[in-house]
Symmetry: D3
Subunit: 132 residues, 6 copies
């Protein structure tokens, strides 16, 4: 059982907001994150599986990259996360993004099992979902 990880980058805008709160409450809870701003996000997706002895691969990471681009990155990159369909009705926090990406790609990696979806919003703020 070996874990393989592919990292991809995207640059998006977002703002955090709960429509059930008034302006003041949004400012109090989300601070400057209530303003439209943005990040260079780094997304790391980890699969777990047996090594295929004819290739030496658990899963072809170029294929994983293509899946990530098709399902999420090409939609979210150079766009606002608040407009991404997979995040509809959700505050686009790093926490909600990792769960959404998990749901978009789960079951699309053949025999390899999805193990973790990790998102660096900055080098200091990180979220990870392991399907638990």
């Amino acid at each position: 059982m070996v874990y393989v990880t592919r990292r991809v980058s995207f640059s998006s805008a977002h703002h955090l907001r709960n429509d059930g709160y008034d302006e003041e409450e949004n400012k109090r809870i989300f601070g400057k994150c209530a303003n439209t701003h943005g990040h260079n996000y780094e997304l790391e997706v980890t699969l777990k599986g047996e090594i295929d002895h004819s290739t030496g691969y658990v899963f072809d990471l170029k294929v994983l990259k293509d899946i990530l681009k098709r399902e999420f990155v090409d939609i979210a990159d150079h766009a606002s996360l608040n407009d991404v369909p997979a995040l509809k009705g959700l505050n686009p926090t790093a926490e909600n993004v990792v769960v959404a990406v998990w749901r978009l790609i789960e079951g699309k990696m053949g025999n390899a099992k999805l193990h973790s979806v990790k998102l660096y919003e900055t080098v200091n703020n990180i979220a990870e979902y392991r399907g638990e």
Copy 2:
């Protein structure tokens, strides 16, 4: 003569657009950058001067950090560069940001001379102004 550099970070949204162009022309020239998106920007400001022998400093970098925050970073961070007053009427490209930051801080560093303002939009895209 020694060069000293202070790096500061900020996370902002922006979109690139020329209001004199129609939608199609904006898309053709700016591509996905015409959409609202964002970055974790890294700003590096370099001063040049003699070492003050009573301190060993060319310029106190904590003071430089405070100047950068007051003049630009606290305004641009967690906001849209398209709304920053110092960039009014300018497309908020990395090129225009470095010139704007230069103008905001020039002449505020005592005996030290401003040498360079450098901006990393991502690790791959960088602009620098040296007052030339």
Copy 3:
């Protein structure tokens, strides 16, 4: 269940020493680490919890940053780890620091559960404690 991580930095001195050993033995076991030297440390603290659907957060990472600063970083930064009260009687190795930080902050994160305290002494030397 989502994991969220906050990274904070501090710059400290330390030296490694067992007072029960003589000088030669300290040098033999700790090598150059027996001399006072220092590092730019990176501390990563990970919490585990359910996403709060009104905010999209597991735990507000600005609050986690404030806890880390108040409990440890503001005391250890620009100081010697050998003088930090939470490390009293302990050799200030990365291993002892991560256990000490865990004990300082455990139980202070509301519904979120402390999952991991990880310390990068350099990019090459790392310790992590998971409360096991």
Copy 4:
């Protein structure tokens, strides 16, 4: 129980190939990886154990570095992974390297237990083996 990690670097060539495939099939499956190329690899090895209270160490990371160099890095660095004895008969993918390194060093760390061998082929492509 604390985890300690040592990172080491090496620069090697490799190419991916299955001798049972013809040229075209190798190109189809391995793409440009079928050509001889190379990487600056980063290897991270993690041990798990109790802190020794006389030293504050789980395991002396300088000793771990020496083991890694002797068993693998000094052989693989500035060489081709296709020629490394421990990878004989295996395609030198990141997956096969982490399993091979695990087998080379397992049981050589005294009371500390080998927990993970992780290899960054680039910042974007990563494999990890945990002995499962």
Copy 5:
């Protein structure tokens, strides 16, 4: 006058050798670099020019990326630098690569002037050519 820089990555093999030297002499001068090995190279190309006020660009960095890929990176990536036509007859040191890349791209950036070609072989070994 503003400087703009585009960074691109490629992973290549190389070995250093002077065919006029015998084996022993090659080993003595080039050490382990005489063996086929490889690197994740980072190439940074800097242009210098006036900001075009209709776009805010000195030069469209996506176009610069395309030029770099077409002229050098798509040929050198996942290949051996010893086989790259632009390096024919030259030892593929970082020094020779930066001069070769300069010659391949000079004069292809419209009104912008080529200022610097910089190559990171590793984070520790760097060469730069400024056309002097």
Copy 6:
């Protein structure tokens, strides 16, 4: 004319102090830097010269590394900069270190000319001396 750079790391303690000032004045000017603390320093030394066509080198960077280690790094690493002979009588700021390193190594690189000594105290605080 090509520039070549070698980066080396060292981990040292230091504190900033002017013995002509009283305690309060030292605290006021140097803040927390008046306490003994430390850093993982990155030192980048750049030489400038013609490429030697028999080797493809401007200067063998392994030799430059050896000079840097012998003249400065082996003395400063895992020690206090306040005790380093080359910094005697100087406040061990990044500014004073780069000038001291320049003086230690100047004239020791054969035909290559010393161009720059640059020191990263942290990723945010940097000093550089170019012999001007």
